[in-house]
């Protein structure tokens, strides 16, 4: 069942407006030269940080569709009746979310780097940092989607929760402190299924 669930989540995440977070990411990056001016050296210097800010804001877009539609339509209840643990549901959703969100973001980052006049070495470093950090970001997004599921104004609340919690990823990612970033990302990815699973259970009762 868990394999079918991951396939389902990837299919759902890959249809419709999958490209929207990546497009939003590029758009945020594209705004930066207008905001700080066309100084290529300045843009190149702040490039990694800009990519991370854009990644965080883009990560907010799909949050509403990660958990709430399945809660409202009884899918989460049926999965429980089929013996799938809420933690496994959360894990499947994190994995599928990263698969549909992470690689596209890495591709979009290459375009973003060009807009920011980042050199090849800085781009590669930023891509590695995003590769390490985006699983943690996906885990955080699913967890917050689960915690806010069913609440009024959930998307606003999600933004208020996700952005501060993602600060460690932002700091270590933008600074290319890969080991520390990997530690944070691993912590989030390992802990998220349990927190999100508990939130799904709490929403049911």
């Amino acid at each position: 069942m868990i394999g079918s669930l991951i396939t389902r989540e990837v299919r759902r995440g890959s249809t419709g407006v999958t490209w929207l977070p990546a497009a939003f990411f590029v758009l945020v990056v594209a705004l930066m030269p207008f905001a700080v001016g066309p100084d290529a050296r300045l843009l190149g210097r702040i490039g990694s940080g800009v990519l991370w800010i854009a990644a965080l804001t883009a990560a907010l877009l799909p949050i509403e569709r990660l958990i709430e539609p399945d809660r409202a339509d009884g899918v989460l209840d049926q999965l429980t009746l089929h013996g799938v643990a809420d933690e496994s549901v959360a894990f499947a959703k994190i994995l599928a979310h990263w698969l549909t969100f992470g690689p596209l973001l890495l591709i979009a980052a290459a375009f973003g780097a060009a807009l920011l006049s980042m050199d090849g070495r800085t781009l590669i470093a930023a891509e590695i940092a995003l590769l390490i950090g985006t699983p943690g970001l996906a885990a955080l997004a699913v967890t917050i989607a689960a915690v806010t599921s069913g609440l009024p104004r959930a998307s606003s609340l999600a933004a208020l929760l996700l952005l501060p919690l993602a600060v460690p990823l932002l700091i270590f990612g933008a600074a290319n402190a890969w080991l520390l970033e990997a530690a944070v990302s691993l912590f989030l990815t390992a802990g998220a299924p349990f927190v999100a699973g508990a939130a799904i259970r709490a929403a049911r009762t």
Binding site: M1, G74, D77, Q78, L81
Partner: protein, 182 residues
Amino acid sequence: MSALLRFEGVSLRRGGRLLFEELDLEVGPGEALQVTGPNGSGKSSLLRLAAGLLRAERGKVQAAEVALADDHAALDRELTLRKALQFWGGQVDAAMDALGLAPLAKVPVRLLSSGQLKRATLARVAASAAPLWLLDEPLNALDADGLERLSRLIAAHRERGGAVLAASHQPLSGDWRRMELS
């Protein structure tokens, strides 16, 4: 033969309100129990307790494997009906035939009417191998043909040794035990 569902001294409180207290019930193989009662009396909550989706404040609930049909279809709206049902497994084609859904097999779930969606929800339950069916307001949105097919489906399930617990404010046709929640 052992019961497929047993409540022993079960109490449930939701939103600070006591829905029922010290409730005992038992449903054995081949039996059907209809729970009646006014809106908000706890019929749906009783079904969710039986499904293990809610926890009793007090008492013990024991249930065999269950299949639940409530007002949530739990079917992927973008898939065709057959593919959406196949996600949950079981004897999908037989269940679709039994509920007159075979002609709709290739229709996306999002295009189904409310009555067709109700049949699809019941087909999800009928396709499962679960011996205990939990049906929440199963008659809602069904036409005369749908009611007839549901009756036949329930009768066949009971003949196979299955059991049904249904919450409905409308009378269900056939041989049902009835229990009222106040």
